[in-house]
């Protein structure tokens, strides 16, 4: 009797789940087409146990908890499927189910423990019932599998009820959007992730290229996302790791990446009349914006009814959220996709962004400068300016920072070092146009593509082997985003090149006389976007300086606030992002912050004194040369 009940319950639950999945799939398929291959499903185990686990394992407590809970549950379900689903009713398998449910129960206990003292980033609401519903499932299954021949009727009914409640949580999640949706959507997201390169050990940080001739103007409504992006949003477990990492959220600007993803999940609704409101969202709101006033549906414009524009413009595109997300969700792609639509169809970028985009269109510089002035700082340095038919090994692309007298110090130091290493190099002079990085982050794909194509034409007319730049944003554009438009170059950050030259002995370095306590700030576009965290540290070490690490460094470094056009859109918050970063430096007693990016330099130097001094690594290394000579 009991066995048959369980079999019935199993198939009922399975049918319910499949029905729910079918319903949810219909919603995902409202999105735009994307590449699809059934074979990807085979990749799930590796992606789960390697790529996903790599992120989750950063927090060992919750990793172990999840292994016990989910591992126990999956094992128990598999065994139930065999033993009850196939109606084998084998006693030995009961023992195995018992063991699996016991492990799951232990895991659930720790889920419960954690929920008792949950960090603010975790969502409450439906997620708070999870320890209980999962416990009900495990306990119910445990009881019905106990090796006793007869359970009292009361206990049996109680156990079946527990099992029913627990099974409902598992089976209804995907269809009704409950917490357990994440299990199914998460696994499918791993299979059909929009950035498949992520699973081949490569960084995948370039923004997708819009086909403007095909009138692709970014995301206006949820159905404008690709179907696998919509699937990705459904994978969110509302753990809030993104929220805790987000610099804009910390600064009190109206952005919370977790809420943003949940808002997009709300958009997965065909209820066109009222849409779904965010009233049930049980996590931290966008700072300064009340909950319950926004709603959306699949074919309704997202901005502003579902998400306010200022939320999108608060993002620095630092990718800290993406870096932290255990479900490998791509928040920045979503934000830039939405920005693109605002900028391309409405010209609605705020603050100084429209002026900047106009400058870029008219002058090919961010600041609206005369391009001929870009290398004025080099006029007394005896630096070659590249021309067609003048081959050089190394092309120095200075970027917008070359117009800034502060950054010119870095560039002069870099030139001095390249000369000391006897490099054959030249600058671009008036041929250089802005890479279009800022335009692209501000959603102006058209200006980006136009600038990129002009630059690619220029590069194609020149002869050089490699490009070096001291600006990670320039590096990211040229190295990661130009290939999609036909420009393929070997691009080095100056610290990478200098570290190579130093280790090969081509650049002979002495020891620095610097005595101030030093830390290094990882630029997001160098670290997270390009994976380079060692070269700057190696260089500092090579000149005898010890790097004292701040809270959040390397690939998990905290943003300076300067990326993604955020200083231009300038959405107000409670404090400024660079103030937070400088506080990190103060907290470890640093008197000097080494940097490798003009944006970071100007953002961090923009913090009022007293604060640590800010020097580019090139300046620190060049000062050693002065001592040596």
């Amino acid at each position: 009797m009991m066995n048959y009940s369980i079999t019935a319950l199993f198939w009922l639950a399975t049918a319910t789940l499949l029905l729910g999945l079918w319903k949810r799939t219909k919603l995902w398929r409202a999105g735009q087409p994307a590449e699809f291959a059934w074979l990807n499903l085979l990749a799930i185990p590796k992606r789960y146990f390697v790529d996903l686990h790599h992120v989750v394992a950063r927090e060992p407590f919750i990793a172990r908890t999840h292994v016990a809970t989910a591992g126990g549950a999956v094992a128990a379900l598999g065994l139930v499927a065999i033993n009850y689903g196939l109606m084998l009713y084998c006693a030995a398998l009961n023992w195995a189910i018992l063991a699996a449910t016991a492990i799951m129960l232990i895991g659930v206990f720790f889920v419960w423990l954690r929920r008792r003292n949950a960090p603010a980033r975790l969502s409450r609401g439906a997620w708070s019932r999870l320890p209980y519903s999962l416990a009900a499932f495990a306990l119910g299954l445990l009881i019905v599998n106990l090796p006793v021949t007869v359970l009292s009727a009361g206990v049996a009914v109680f156990a079946l009820l527990l099992l029913l409640v627990g099974s409902a949580e598992l089976a209804l999640g995907i269809g009704l959007g409950g917490p357990m949706k994440h299990a199914i959507a998460g696994l499918l997201h791993l299979a059909f992730h929009p950035r498949q390169e992520r699973f081949s050990g490569k960084l995948s940080t370039a923004l997708m290229t819009l086909d403007l001739t095909n009138q692709e103007y970014g995301i206006n409504k949820p159905s404008d996302f690709k179907w696998n992006q919509l699937l990705g949003f459904d994978a969110c477990v509302q753990c809030g790791k993104c929220e805790a990492a987000c610099p804009a959220f910390a600064a009190g600007q109206p952005l919370n990446p977790k809420k943003l993803i949940q808002d997009l999940v709300l958009g997965l609704s065909n209820d066109e009349k009222s849409g779904k409101t965010d009233a049930n969202f049980a996590g931290s709101p966008y700072p300064g914006l009340p909950i319950g006033e926004h709603s959306g549906s699949m074919h309704a414009p997202i901005v502003p009814s579902l998400i306010e524009a200022e939320t999108l413009w608060s993002c620095t595109t630092c990718r800290a959220c993406v870096q932290e997300c255990p479900m490998l969700i791509e928040h920045v792609d979503a934000i830039v996709g939405l920005r693109r639509n605002l900028t391309l169809t409405q010209g609605a970028a705020p603050g100084k962004a429209p002026q900047t985009l106009e400058n870029l269109r008219q002058t090919a510089t961010v600041g609206g400068y005369d391009r001929n002035a870009r290398y004025h700082w080099a006029v007394d340095l005896d630096v070659k300016t590249i021309q067609p038919n003048m081959p050089v090994d190394l092309l120095l692309v200075a970027g917008e920072g070359a117009f800034d007298m502060r950054y010119q110090r870095t560039l002069r130091a870099l030139v001095k070092l390249l000369k000391a290493a006897k490099m054959d190099f030249a600058v671009m002079g008036a041929l250089e146009r802005d890479t279009g990085d800022t335009a692209r982050r501000l959603g102006d794909e058209a200006t980006f593509q136009s600038l990129a194509k002009q630059n690619i034409d220029t590069f194609n007319s020149l002869t050089f082997k490699r490009i070096v730049t001291a600006d990670p944003h320039v590096m990211h554009s040229l190295k990661n985003e130009y290939p999609a438009l036909g420009g393929n170059y070997e691009v080095l950050h100056h610290t990478t090149l200098l570290a190579q030259l130093a280790s090969s002995g081509q650049l002979k370095l002495g020891k620095s006389a610097e005595t101030r306590k030093l830390t290094y700030h990882d630029p997001c576009y160098l670290g997270r976007y390009n994976g380079e965290t060692d070269a700057p540290r190696d260089l500092l070490k090579a000149i005898g300086l010890q790097v004292n690490e701040m809270e959040r460094s390397g690939l998990r470094g905290r943003c300076c606030g300067g990326g993604g056009g955020a200083p231009l859109t300038d959405i107000p918050g409670k404090q400024r992002i660079p103030d937070i970063r400088i506080q990190d430096a103060r907290n470890i007693g640093a008197e000097l912050v080494a940097v490798g990016c003009p944006q970071c330099t100007s953002m961090l130097e923009g913090v009022v004194r007293n604060r640590p001094d800010v020097l580019d690594i090139a300046e620190l290394v060049a000062s050693v040369m002065e001592h040596a000579s």
Binding site: G367, Y369, A373, H376, W377, V379, D380, L381, F403, D404, M405, R406, Q408, R409, A513
Partner: protein, 687 residues
Amino acid sequence: MRYPNLFSPFTLNKLTLRNRIVSTAHAEVYAEQGGLPGERYIRYYEEKAKGGLGLAICGGSSPVSIDSPQGWWKSVNLSTDKIIEPLSNLAEAMHRHGAKIMIQATHMGRRSAYYGEHWPHLVTPSGVREPVHRGNAKTIEAEEIRRIIKDFALAAKRVQAAGMDGIEISAAHQHLIDQFWSPRSNFRTDEFGGSLANRMRFGVEVLTAVREAVGADFCVGMRMCGDEFHEDGLDHETLKEIAQYMSETGLIDFISVVGSGADTHNTIANCMPPMALPPEPFVHLAAGIKSVIKIPLMHAQSIRDATQAERILENCWVDLVGMTRAHLADPHLVTKIRDGREDEIKQCVGANYCIDRQYLGQDVLCIQNAATSREATMPHIIVKTTGKKRKVVVIGAGPAGLEAARVSAERGHDVVLFERNMSVGGQVNLASKVPQREQMAGIIRWFDMETKRLGIDRRFGVAADSAMILAEKPDIVVLATGGSSHMHQVPAWGVAEGLAVSSWDILSERVAPGKNVLIYDSMSTHAGFGTADFIASRGNNVELVTPDVKVADDVGGTTFPIFYRRLYALGIIPTPNYWLDRVYAEGDKKIAVIRNEYTEELEERAVDQVVIENGTTPNDELYWALKEQSANHGQTDINTLFASEAQPALSMPLKEGEFLLYRVGDCISMHNIHGAIYDALRLCKDF
């Protein structure tokens, strides 16, 4: 982009300047025997190149002919081939740091001293004497004109051969070319006089010969005046005509403009505008000339600040800004502007110590920077010591003490600075109370900011005694306690009886000025006249009595005219050649008894107030209190000091509680601001 104009490169002929900032030609008085630049000369300019400037034009008034004497003021001598080698060393040094270098070439005509070297008979268009230099001169003859034109061409060839970047021909300050231009000095009736075209002939022929000598690609400029400020001289409109004509000859690549003639004592004071004049007083003359010429224009005269310079460029008044005295005060000016360290710039205040020395034939020195022109021995950038970190206690925050504290802190030592008053500055605070000399305070402003930036422990309102000093456990004590008004030299002045007060009493406003005041100034420096000006400006009657040959006799050629303008405007009565014998009271009047230096005759003045300026007497109580306890008995070894070497006592091992004691500035004996700062720099740079 900060300073988009200041830092935009500029092209003169084939030459690219890295920025718009120029050190224009000035007389340095550094050349060695025979008028050849040596190490001092080259390092002086090289420091500016290191400091980032675009172009320096050296050798103000470097003569091309041997009848234009240079020996008496140690100018560069372009009349000999021997000049090529030192100039090429100079050019090489400048180019090493990315700067360009030109030299000014001229013939001074009557504007010199005939006894200067070969006792030549000076030449001038019409034999009219020049008053400032007592320049008696003969009327120049056609043969001499031909010779001098040839000399200009030869000099230009030498400059080019040395690898210099260009040459500037001077037609300013009433040199020979503008002696021809000016109706004040040219009364000729031949082809070189009369019409403007005739008066310009000599200059045009000089420039033609120079251009022929150097070819089309070498940079040739001309410096000229924008208005002579004489009724019978060249006015602005005529000078515009000249400039336009010269620019259209195609012979020159730029024109540099200065305001004011310079052939009288009063006009000279305008040329290097002292602090009494407003900023950039003559930029309108430069802009006027720029409006009629098609070649670039350069202008200097009281452009001391980066934003000021940027504004002048932005308004398109000039193409290149001369910041010449600004570079004397801080040769690293440009780098500091460029690197966002404007607050660290030692800014020229227009005290004109530099030019006032030059007019006496003394080497040019900066009142506030003792390293300028002493680059071989005195550092502009003080590097941290690699030796022991010491505790340095400095007493007194006047210029000497501030420099001692600053230099010691830059060396990396732990510095405590005691000051009796509530602020830094010492006697300079009094000097800046004088009307039209408020900018003296700028000297102190820089020290104030630097000593703050360096984190020096500054303790104000503390009259340190020896116990307090020793409680600091110092390794070195530097006394910079300055001086006090020297009032007790002659008891008969009645200071003790209250019959006379000091200039300090007046300037510090401790004592209100009287209605009828006799000022006795035994020093003839800025303080005495300044006190007279201070009192007279408040509507009182002042007689200024001095035993010197004239009042304010020791204030220099560009400063005394400013004082004299005020003397006559305010009705101050100058009474030189009298000593003050005694003062006595009669009723509510003070009777001052003065004695003529030359006749010994006594005169009496009945006044409300007698004010005495008699310099300072050292504040040396602390010295005597500490001398015997100090390890070096307070002695500064002058052999090593004068050789710019470290004091031998610094290498002495000190026992617990032992310290070294040094003194700098007026607390030894009365010097001036430069002397005080130099004392401190040369002593403390090796701490």
